[in-house]
């Protein structure tokens, strides 16, 4: 019996690994390991889900793949670490992961007091509403919900947000709160309330679990701000820049019309200087663009990420958008020129 203990002890000793101190430069550590250590959610529809073949899929997952492609040239060189909500920041602080891409809301306290930095906003989430469009065919916006009964989970900010929003819109409403989310959804499905409210991405996931998803309409309004984005350790600016600019590259790629399909051709044929700069094409006088080098990466950093993972729009579509069962509208996550909030500084 003791031998089992000893065996395990030896195992522990062997697995005591030097993960590299945070100050040593995460970028160098990643190169040395040969993979990006990425913290993801334990399972969240559309954001990080393991399939039956042990492959992780989802938006948060794809973002880590893009980082790996940009840094190491290979999108498969990622080690995913599923984390609970409570563990996620410690895992990052202790160096267990290099980047936290786990539907984490960017708030001031998290940004300023945890020794962490948010590198961008991958997904603009927020509280929304879902209604039974068969029963309430005329409800097309939250303003049509006057006098409605709304189901939601009790004791969360969800409840307060509804109160604030309906008060500011001078709308009557009745709140039916439940201890557990599942109970609230069951009540909604039994018709005990007219609408159900939680984060909009969650609404789409819940809708998919319903008998006839298309009988339920997710209203377009978002009444709270839940910007979700990747997080890195504070004090490692080089790595922070890499993560931030991988995200910007994905957004810029969509804006410039670069996709995983055409990025190679565009690199050869495009004369658009913005594309040339992003893809690291040497300019006419033979001088290298130098943007990747400036970050400590190869010139082909953005090309690798776009080719192997896709631009922001492709990632969105494949995991949560029209190309996925969830069918979430782009909404606020559309590019700025299409009326959304996704905006990236220029590569210049």
């Amino acid at each position: 019996m003791k031998n089992k203990l000893i065996t395990l002890m030896l195992g522990a000793a062997a697995s005591v690994a030097i993960a590299g101190a945070a100050t040593a430069g995460t970028l160098d550590d990643v190169r040395q390991h040969g993979f990006v250590q990425c913290g993801v959610s334990q399972g969240l529809m559309g954001f990080s889900v393991p399939d039956a073949q042990n492959n992780w899929t989802g938006m948060d997952v794809d973002f880590c793949r893009a980082i790996a492609a940009a840094v190491l040239g290979d999108a498969t060189k990622v080690k995913f670490t599923p984390l609970t909500a409570k563990e996620r920041f410690t895992a990052l602080q202790s160096g267990e992961i290099d980047v936290l891409s786990r539907n984490t809301t960017w708030t001031m306290s998290r940004d300023t007091s945890l020794g962490l930095k948010f590198a961008g906003i991958m997904y603009y989430d927020g509280q929304g509403f879902i209604v039974n469009s068969k029963k309430h065919a005329n409800v097309k916006s939250v303003n049509d919900l006057a006098g409605a009964t709304i189901c939601t989970q009790s004791g969360t900010t969800t409840e307060l947000n509804i109160a604030d929003y309906f008060k500011s819109q001078k709308l009557d409403y009745k709140l039916l709160t439940f201890e557990k989310n599942d109970e609230a959804i069951a009540a909604y499905q039994d018709g005990r309330c007219d609408a159900y409210s939680t984060d909009q991405s969650g609404l789409y996931a819940q809708r998919l679990k319903m008998q006839v998803p298309d009988d339920n309409l997710v209203l377009p309004e978002i009444i709270s701000k839940e910007p979700l984005g990747p997080v890195v350790r504070q004090g490692d600016d080089a790595w922070f820049n890499v993560v931030k600019w991988v995200y910007f590259a994905l957004v810029n790629a969509e804006e410039l019309g670069l996709t995983s399909q055409n990025v190679e051709d565009m690199k050869k044929t495009s004369t658009n200087p913005e594309i040339q700069r992003l893809l690291g094409v040497a300019s006419s006088d033979g001088k290298a663009a130098g943007f990747g080098i400036g970050m400590g990466l190869d010139e082909g950093w953005a090309e690798a990420a776009i080719k192997q993972v896709g631009n922001y729009g492709e990632i969105f579509d494949r995991n949560v958008g029209q190309g996925s069962p969830l069918k979430i509208e782009r909404g606020k996550n559309a590019l700025w020129k299409d009326g959304g909030l996704q905006y990236a500084p220029p590569v210049r």
Binding site: M1, K2, N3, K4, L5, T7, L8, G11, A12, A14, S15, V16, A17, I18, A19, G20, A21, A22, Q42, G43, L44, M45, G46, V49, P50, D51, A52, Q53, N54, T81, P82, L83, T84, K86, E87, T90, A91, Q93, S94, G95, E96, A205, L208, K209, M210, Q211, V212, P213, S324, P325, L326
Partner: protein, 373 residues
């Protein structure tokens, strides 16, 4: 003249009064002994029948058996979504263990089962060799096979382990570590040496006074912050240690109950015969105490087996955790998917716990006979 009448054979047996023997009699005595009793039987029978029918109806009659996605299972009035289980089941057993290496956990389970089976049959030969193998060689073989990194086996990190594999690894290691530790603690608590006694009491009370979730959180969240920068201790390892120490405190109390139940005269008689204290403890007190504690110890083991699901809070995917993760797959999102997954989880946990419980009863009955002799 009177004739002496001496009966030389039994009178023919008369049939028992109608309704007191056979199936009818049993029914009458046990189920319909009076109006109140009859009513209760009927009501409970109806409730049970309804429950059984509901489960059968949902799990079999209305169930969807084939399909390749949510469309198959999202049909109106559908019952259990079995194709979801068919697709995910290997993952539920092995977790994220690499697909090509799944034979390794399978081999570990098979060797374990093969070695354990003869241990559980009272008359089987080679108990001693078998025990040595199970306690010394098997953990090493299992560790090498599962973790790899030797003999040309590809290393597989514990973060890739999951599913039933992790549940079994955590539960079995927990049981194997906590039982001897618990016995030592129980003896320590009754020791006459003040330092040993105090240390045992402090240890037991400390671990019993803290909820298991807190223990796991401390091991997973706090411990990394105390360790020197960049050093990480394997997460599964941390969870197993936490769980084992936790269970050992409970085992210690169960065994202490057994020790106290052994009459003091037993010890005194042993000492009077000239046995040393160690001999008295090993040969007289402990065997009796352990026999008394079996029900409690098995209760703790069953609890430990079920408590392994709590490792989910430190993001280790045990059997239930991996089922939960699979439910987030948009490919299978349908009204009955979650129920089906939890139904399978309940069946598997019940099978293991029930088997443990029955085997404990069997052992108890056997030892009981030995005591009566």
């Amino acid at each position: 003249m009177s004739v002496a009448f001496v009966r030389d054979r039994d009178a023919p047996l008369r049939p028992p009064p109608p309704g007191t023997a056979g199936a009818l009699g049993w029914l009458r005595a046990n189920l319909f002994a009076g109006p109140g009793n009859s009513l209760l039987t009927l009501l409970l029978g109806l409730a049970l029948g309804w429950l059984a029918w509901s489960v059968l109806d949902w799990a079999v009659l209305r169930a969807v058996w084939t399909g390749s996605g949510r469309e198959a299972c999202a049909i109106p009035d559908a019952g259990a979504c079995w194709p979801f289980v068919w697709e995910k089941f290997p993952q539920w057993i092995f977790g994220f263990y690499p697909l090509d290496e799944r034979w390794r956990p399978l081999a570990v389970m098979a060797i374990g089962a093969a070695a354990l089976a003869p241990m559980m049959v009272p008359g089987a030969p080679g108990k001693q060799a078998n025990a040595l193998f199970l306690l010394i060689a098997y953990p090493a073989i299992a560790y090498v096979l599962l973790a790899g990194g030797a003999f040309g086996l590809e290393p597989v990190e514990t973060s890739s382990w999951g599913g039933l594999l992790v549940t079994l690894v955590v539960a079995v290691t927990g049981i194997v570590i906590s039982l001897p530790l618990g016995i030592l603690l129980a003896l320590g608590r009754r020791s006459e040496l003040p330092v040993v006694r105090t240390a045992s009491i402090v240890f037991i009370e400390l671990w019993r006074g803290v909820p298991l979730v807190t223990v796991l959180f401390m091991a997973s969240v706090m411990l990394p912050l105390f360790l020197p920068g960049g050093v990480t201790l394997d997460k599964l390892m941390r969870a197993i240690i936490g769980l084992s120490l936790f269970a050992s405190a409970y085992i210690a109390e169960a065994v202490r109950g057994g020790l106290q139940a052994v009459a003091k005269g037993q010890t005194e008689a042993g000492l009077a015969l000239g046995l040393s204290r160690g001999q008295v403890t090993r040969k007289i007190v402990l065997p009796q105490a352990l026999r008394i504690s079996i029900p409690n110890i098995v209760g703790i083991f069953i609890g430990l087996f079920k408590d392994t699901t709590l490792v989910l809070v430190v993001s280790i995917y045990d059997f239930l955790g991996i089922i939960n993760a699979g439910l987030q797959d948009a490919k299978w999102a349908a009204p009955q998917t979650a129920n089906t997954g939890y139904f399978v989880a309940a069946l598997v946990y019940f099978a293991f716990c029930f088997a443990m419980s029955r085997y404990a009863l069997f052992t108890e009955a056997r030892l009981e006979q030995a005591g009566k002799r």
